[in-house]
Assembly symmetry: C2
Homo-oligomer: 353 residues x 2
């Protein structure tokens, strides 16, 4: 009984209190609650593990899981009162699966946004090799969903080649900083758009972009693209949608590829209020291919990606940038920061630092 | 001199009198004029042929060549006073190239919209085999640009497969009637949209469409597509753009392909006045590929296409429908008919019947 008491933990977690059909979610929609949880071995079901959260990945797609209706990204919607989940890293505190033991560090695709939790071990993607010299946050950025999305967008869907003129929107975001570096490694000319002068400097000075522009300052996107792409655009990695996509379609070269990775300008609007590009006809004359993708569908290529990316990281050819927020209480603010363009690089929540 | 007089012909031709930036072109923009032309051998330059026009193909893309600015289809624009050209069939009346002789029937990609003309023999695509049992209009419809556009859209870009749910807009047009038959031959379920109840009957009764709807009657496209595609859309051959494309994007299946062949709803508007689909985000969740194409880029596949299509025509598996208008005077009305949805099948002008 004393043992039982010792293994009890207090765990805070975020859950869906009400659906957010439009706009940036607030504390009306997402709320924090405290649970008391036993991590004692006898209370862990067979084939399950008890996990202490270490890092959570904060990604824009999360916004699309609170609207109550299947829209756009076609992601399953949370039920009311259900705990939110995210890509995460945790430490095994107790295990009823002999593949895992206490102290293992593991990657979890649908990690509850909670300080502690018990889940089926089948939810674990892999153990993290803590001797690799690669830091834990890196596994959620360059080696995580963001890095993989960048790789699929540039290498697979976008088919960037030596000399390609590549444009990347949300260039200073988690996907953008990796995508720009991958395109440079392929010998492309790479231009990015981002939301501040400071972030333009970051993509150029830290991540090797040839140039970039602040879309809040150069608000005539057509003029900006004329200036930065005198020879037109061959590959566009779209993370924003809306007016920027329309402008891009006025500057595409013959047989350009547009890889639709995300459309952050659309996530907070119901679809009838979004702005559609009025110049899709350009796709015919220029024979453009536009293709949406979800990284899950490319999971059979994850091994190729991870091998390539680990090599780049160890050789110092790909760098990451993390905006680490301490404590589970910061989750909602972190999520909202994605929509105010106030973040640089990969936004993470760190628990139990 | 008497010989010279005998060889003189009066030839009417259509030319561009003023640019038509928006709207359906009128007799202010396209005008007819009469020339006097010598077909005498000594007046034909070396490597040239004198041609008597027999049939001209009237295609929607023509609209995009009168606007003065490169837009959408990126087609070269006519100069003022320049004679209009179209895909055509003519009879050689005199030849200064020993590959051709008087009486040959030839296919010409950029045939002047004129009763008679003299052109370089390099403009000739091929001689027509008049013993093939295939009628001349067929070479401008199922075996011409329209048939090839249908084939590229269904087979190459759209990748229709046995069991695919295929949607075709402007289904009763020159491309639509051929595309529907090709998709049926591949074992697809095929639904078309068109502008009248009579044309819905035509696509079903004459061209084997499984079903179809009149977009002027079923004006809630979303509801119509829900009804006709209970299992969603796998392939969309888009000939219209605009609101129909937006509705389609609400009904696409995972990994659907959208082959952009034409956007007739857009040709008469400047691009800022067009309607863009507000739901492109659906392309990410459903991982849709949308691709524009121009048949010229697939010319290396024309042989494969022609062999396949000639086989189908001779076996009676693909049928055509021609709306033949007599006399060069009808050219402008024929062109306008494409935009009023008053045509059925392939619109042709026949000269010297």
């Amino acid at each position: 009984m004393a043992e039982e008491e010792k293994s009890m933990v207090e765990s805070k977690e975020w859950y869906l209190a009400s659906y957010a059909r439009e706009g940036v979610p607030t504390s009306d929609h997402l709320k924090l609650r405290t649970l008391h949880l036993s991590l004692a071995l006898h209370s862990i079901p067979h084939g399950h593990v008890a996990i202490q959260s270490l890092f959570l990945s904060i990604d824009p797609y999360l916004r699309s899981t609170f609207t109550a209706t299947l829209d756009g990204l076609c992601l399953p919607q949370y039920q009311l009162n259900q705990v939110i989940t995210a890509f995460g890293i945790g430490r095994v505190k107790g295990s009823k699966d002999n593949k895992y033991e206490e102290g293992d560090i593991v990657l979890i695709a649908y990690s509850p946004v909670a300080e502690y939790f018990v889940i089926s071990s089948t939810e674990i993607i892999s153990k993290v090799d803590t001797e690799s010299g690669i830091s834990l946050p890196e596994y959620l950025s360059s080696l995580g969903v963001a890095g993989f999305a960048a790789w699929v967008g540039i290498e697979v869907v976008g088919e960037a080649k030596t000399g390609s003129n590549v444009f990347i929107s949300a260039a200073c975001g988690a996907v953008g900083i990796i995508a720009g570096q991958l395109a440079k490694l392929k010998g492309c000319r790479v231009i990015g758009s981002t939301g501040s002068d400071q972030k333009v400097r970051v993509i150029k000075e830290e991540f090797g972009y040839d140039d970039g522009f602040n879309y809040n300052k150069e608000t005539d996107f057509d003029a900006a693209l004329s200036k930065y792409f005198p020879n037109g655009i061959d590959v566009y990695l779209d993370n924003v949608g809306g007016k920027m996509l329309e402008a891009v379609l006025n500057h595409v070269n013959k047989h350009a590829r547009i890889a639709l990775c995300g459309m952050i300008s659309d996530y907070n609007k119901v679809w009838r209020e979004r702005e559609g590009p009025r110049n899709l006809l350009n796709m015919i004359g220029k024979e453009v291919r536009m293709e949406g993708y979800m990284v899950l569908s490319y999971f059979n290529r994850f091994g190729d990606f991870a091998t390539e990316m680990e090599g780049y990281i160890k050789e110092g050819k790909v760098k990451s940038k993390h905006q680490i927020n301490i404590g589970i209480e910061t989750f909602l603010d972190c999520l909202c920061s994605l929509f105010s363009s106030s973040n640089v690089g990969k936004v993470l929540v760190q628990l139990h630092p």
